[in-house]
Amino acid sequence: MIPMLDPVMLVLIIPAVAAAVLVLLPTYELAARVNVAATFMTFISALGLFALPERPNGLLLIDDLNIVFIVLTTFVGFTTSIFSSGYIAHELEIGRLTPLYLRFYHAMYQLLMFGMNLALTANVTGLMWVAIELATLTTVLMVGIYRTHEALEAAWKYFILGSVGIGLALFGTILVYVAAQPVIGEGIDAMRWTVLLDNAARFDPSLLNVAFIFLLLGYGTKVGLAPLHAWLPDAHAEGPTPISAVLSGLLLNVALYAVLRFKILLAANGQAIAPGPLMVAMGLTSLVFAAFMLYRRRDIKRLFAYSSIEHMGIIAFAFGMGGPLANFAGLLHMTMHSLTKSAIFFSIGHITRIKGTQRIADIGGLTESHPTLGWTLVVGVVAIAGLPPFGIFTSEFLIISSTFSREPLLAIPLVFGILIAVGALFLRLNGLAFGEPLGPLAPNRMSYLPMFAHFILVLIAGIYLPAPIVLWFQNVAGMLG
């Protein structure tokens, strides 16, 4: 196979080249189209990973676990770029962004896709760290792109907490290398997942324990787990809405992927502490904390940012419980949450564009004034709250039922947190979607297509999960142990 046409290289090369091209393109219409085309081609290449004759395990790695993440990342990246082209055109119209900033925005978007794909495909722990740092940096810059006082404040907070987080993660990465070096020897092999896993049983367990604490705290900051979540709501609320969608839908998953890789490593060692209980504790704390915080939100984007913390908590809990069923449910929940949450942010993008505000109190009666928009928001909230017939119901049901059968006591705070969150979401939805229409009533001129595509996928997954996907997820769940 020609190296350039290798799908593994393509998912990295396309965004990198597109970023370079987009810096140079002067007109935003063309830039937006190139952006969509590049993310579409990246998605197609990601699908090509399934047909890979030989899976690499040198500097890059493809296995059943990261294919799920890569396909999800490139798909949501693609749909978000469609949404972004309409959104950005409006931002230019009202003068919140200048053409120069738009060039920067599109280049950063592709650079972010590159960073995430590199983090997901990297076989070397250090390379993965560099990639996550790159993704963090691009999102920090994009969160601050409006340059209002609030946006800069949010970007600053994100930068400080995010870089402390990745700093701690690097220390953990170094410690894993120090643990591996006496066994494997010096050099890059002592940082390769595939080599690390084969030799994990001979590593010093106490060193691995300390390393995992740093890695969990470090990457956990990026996942948005309480008590390290403080950057997340501000970054979501003050940045452009497409970036909120990508942050919630994708970047949090990428950080979680890093934690999962190290969890597999610890499990392979055998003598190190079980990483599960730590993740369960952080997950439950995030869930319950975010559920209560949902009640006090007055900003619509912050509301759903806290809901992301809640769901990342549920996902971390599921992976922390471990075992085939909980891991399967965790993977499914992660996929469904990415699709649903980014679709909700698309819908919020339409709403805030029409209403010109993010304050929940100033938005009302959407089902009456904008029936399509209003009802899709209702559908979105029903889906994210975990009600049937949507996919999140399936995954939450599996998580709760497996917890009941194994650790009934843990199921109590889990169910409690989920119910509290559902209450808050419906309380806010009631004001947003029903009652007297509030605010401007201009029609929506942007495409609903990305939003509908996501909701249809979530609906299909809730009613019937195709057998190949179930098989694939079961296989991955086995890998995660």
Binding site: V130, E153, W156, I160, S163, D204, R359
Partner: protein
């Protein structure tokens, strides 16, 4: 490994910890920037010594990057920024200097106990080095939480980064160390340029988390 080689590497790593403490009690911004430049120089010497005793030429590149970026470019840029913004007089503290120093001593003790306890089977070169590096990292974190101003937080973050590079240099034959230090330099450079270009004057008044909530109307008062 000769005892002399180990002693020198401990001396250099220890001097970084000492300089971290010095940063904690600086009352003036310009003094803080000077101490940070010294911190970076101490780091460069520590990396050079590690490169020499390990026979690892890639560490010399890392040392050069650290010298140019952290000991020269960033301190000069920060000095210009704080003078231009007129914030060079005093540093606003959240906690007093005395308690901060006591907490710092406790953190160094903690990192010694933790790291020396778990690295009994590791390379002797990496052992104390990791413990001292963790001390530098924790002291940097302490500085970030105990000072309010944006420039001090950036300096705190960069001293954390120095600790990380020190740890990476002590891990024998660690690959990608050049790439990691380049990635860090880009990160820091972007932020310093960001502060400089946007002249976020009000940014320097507060990074109080609650202030943001007030702007957003999430909290009263």
């Amino acid at each position: 490994m000769t005892p002399f080689a180990l002693d020198v590497s401990h001396l250099l790593a220890g001097s970084l910890v000492l300089l971290s403490f010095m940063m904690l009690y600086q009352a003036r911004m310009l003094g803080l920037i000077n101490v940070f430049a010294l911190h970076a120089v101490a780091l460069v010497l520590a990396i050079l010594w590690q490169g020499y005793i390990q026979g690892a030429p890639s560490l010399f590149i890392t040392a050069t990057i650290a010298l140019v970026v952290k000991a020269i470019v960033i301190p000069v840029a920060l000095r210009r920024i704080v003078i231009q913004l007129g914030v060079h007089r005093t540093i606003e503290t959240v906690v007093g200097i005395g308690p901060t120093m006591l907490v710092g001593i406790a953190l160094v003790g903690l990192s010694m106990v933790v790291m020396l306890g778990v690295t009994t089977e590791s390379d002797p070169l990496a052992r104390e080095d990791l413990a001292l590096a963790l001390s530098v990292i924790l002291l940097g974190l302490l500085m970030m939480v105990s000072r309010r101003n944006a420039v001090t937080q950036v300096i705190g973050f960069m001293s954390i980064e120095n600790g990380l590079i020190l740890a990476a240099a002590g891990a024998r034959g660690m690959p990608l160390i050049v790439e990691i230090s380049v990635a860090f330099s880009i990160l820091v450079a972007f932020i310093v340029i960001g502060i400089f270009l946007f002249r976020i004057r009000e940014r320097f008044d507060t990074v109080d988390v609650q202030a943001l909530d007030r702007f957003r109307g999430e909290q009263s008062g």
